[in-house]
């Protein structure tokens, strides 16, 4: 059983290395092409400016993050953690008893209360 695991994930690991190597190779090829003069490479200060609209950038190039993203991030974390528990349950549900159904219904219901609360507090809206 453990051997099967290593046989399959060994292939996945090799593929992960290939998946990193292929784009790296393409980037390296482009770098070499720049070195041998297949593509131009003469950066000037004007070229290296932030591309906005043709006019010089005013102020810093950073902007503030909107606080609204935070609420969505928290809701996302809650539901994504829920899903981690739901997947093994769903995989085996064909053979599970009534107890598992009730237990998961309670689990999802608790999270739904939180979601309904967030909706009620208008956190799901994109207010300004």
């Amino acid at each position: 059983m453990l051997e099967d695991y290593f046989r399959q994930y060994g292939l996945i690991a090799i593929f992960a290395a290939i998946a990193v190597l292929v784009p790296t190779g393409m980037l390296m090829m482009s770098y070499m092409a720049g070195k041998v003069g297949l593509r131009p490479s003469n950066p000037t200060p004007v070229k290296l400016e932030a591309y906005e609209c043709g006019v010089e950038t005013i102020g810093g190039r950073w902007n503030q993050f909107n606080f609204r993203y935070y609420m969505f991030a928290i809701l996302f974390v809650i539901f994504d953690v829920e899903v981690v528990f739901l997947y093994p349950w769903a995989t085996k549900f064909l053979k599970l008893e009534l107890f598992a159904l009730i237990e998961m219904a309670v689990f999802v219901a608790i999270l739904l209360v939180g979601w309904a609360y967030a909706w009620r507090k208008r956190d799901l809206e994109w207010r300004s």
Partner: protein
């Protein structure tokens, strides 16, 4: 040096792998044959994704041309088929700029971080009978987990570009991605539950009738959510050309832009292949023993067409509409789908814990009206607060126009 795969080896089931292994095993040591056979399949997958991404750009531009009542690229090669090659050659010979003040390492890593997960996702997709690189027993979870790594790449791009628009685009992209991840992941629970397995090969085998009919609501949510996660047009606030120029990849040029663009279109291809596998029964079709790959490609192409069709049809949504669609429409729908599927499975399964084909038909009969009913109900439950304001003419005589204020 005579290596043959033993029948108790898990890779024995993998027909393509077995053939290559036995062929190279006749003259290579066993561990090298293991790697070489794997590399042969990886070669197919990498080429399929990279060349496929090039062809998808052509396919999309041609189709969009037809939708727009024009011709599309048709000069270079038959039907313009060589257009992606020309684009690639152009981008390869362009100057590769890194803007001043950018975080150079992060900036240069982005194409890599976007491309690698995309290639890795294809490892578990069976493109013919018993023909995936690895038939993982957690295939669905693998695809979802690896697929969401793109979020990191997008945020890296926005963060390191030292450009306001890039940061806006990245923040929007991450907000959209995390919002749609939830309904997408929950919608696939129904598929996993009916199939009783997370392995993609087992899910294909469980589709006595395509899950398109058994799980219509899940397909709708998955298609919508994936459109959003790929930043495709109805949900492309992250790279809205008319608002923030090009979003997170605004500062990219040359080969880096080519790679990011290839990763975006390649992701569309891989997601289409996933949908074809999960909902349209993958390689199953007449003579599937011999031409399973043909049915798989045909179904993938069908899903790709739907993606382009969606892009050509719908205008871009506002960011608050996108959020509302995810949290107030798709999430309840996905939970309803989950609850309905759970109850159906619970009452229809036999004592051994299996579902017969007739049970799947019964589920289809319940789920299709349920899907239509839910879409109608929830579509009208949260209306846009739109009211028509009549503008009273003041001293300056203006034509009385009705403006719509949308909150």
């Amino acid at each position: 040096m005579n290596c043959q795969l033993a029948a108790d080896n898990i890779l024995f089931e993998n027909a393509l792998y077995r053939v290559i292994y036995d062929a190279v095993g006749s003259f290579l040591p066993c561990w090298l044959a293991y790697v070489a056979a794997g590399l042969a399949i990886m070669l197919i997958l990498v080429n399929a994704v990279l060349l496929g991404a090039a062809l998808v750009t052509w396919f999309e531009r041609r189709l969009l041309g037809r939708f727009h009542n024009r011709i599309g690229p048709n000069r270079w090669g038959p039907f313009g088929l060589l257009q992606p090659i020309a684009d690639l050659a152009k981008l390869m010979t362009k100057e590769d700029l890194i803007p001043a003040g950018a975080d150079k390492i992060t900036f240069s890593l982005v194409p890599l971080v976007m491309m690698a997960p995309l290639l890795l996702m294809t490892a578990v997709i069976p493109f013919s009978k018993n023909t995936a690189l690895a038939n993982l027993n957690v295939g669905v979870l693998f695809i979802l987990a690896i697929g969401s790594l793109t979020t990191v790449a997008i945020f890296m791009a926005g963060w390191s570009s030292n450009n306001r628009y890039a940061l806006f685009g990245a923040a929007r992209a991450v907000a959209v991605l995390i919002s749609y991840e939830v309904p997408v992941v929950i919608s696939l629970l129904g598929v996993v539950m009916v199939a009783g397995s997370m392995s993609l090969a087992n899910i294909v085998q469980a589709q006595a009738i395509p899950f398109l009919l058994v799980q219509p609501l899940a397909l709708l949510i998955f298609l919508t959510g994936m459109s959003a996660e790929l930043n495709r047009t109805p949900f492309d606030v992250a790279e809205a050309e008319s608002e923030i120029i090009a979003g997170y990849h605004i500062e990219y040029s040359g080969i880096k832009f080519a790679l990011i663009f290839a990763a975006e279109t390649g992701a569309m291809l891989v997601v289409a292949a996933t949908i074809a596998t999960l909902f349209l029964s993958g390689w199953v079709g007449p003579f599937a023993e011999y031409i399973g790959w043909f049915w798989f490609l045909l179904k993938t192409l069908l899903v790709l067409f739907v993606f382009v069709w969606i892009r050509a049809t719908y205008p871009r949504l506002r960011v608050d509409q996108i959020m509302a669609l995810s949290w107030k429409f798709l999430l309840p729908l996905s939970l309803i789908n989950l609850a309905a599927t759970t109850l159906e499975v619970f009452f229809l399964r036999d004592s051994a814990g299996t579902l017969a084909t007739i049970d799947l038909w019964i589920m289809a009969g319940i789920n299709i009206p349920l899907a239509l009913g839910c879409i109608f109900l929830f579509g009208n439950l949260v209306p846009e607060n739109a009211k028509v304001l009549s503008v009273r003419p003041t001293t300056v005589v203006v034509p009385a126009v009705a403006t719509v204020e949308v909150r």
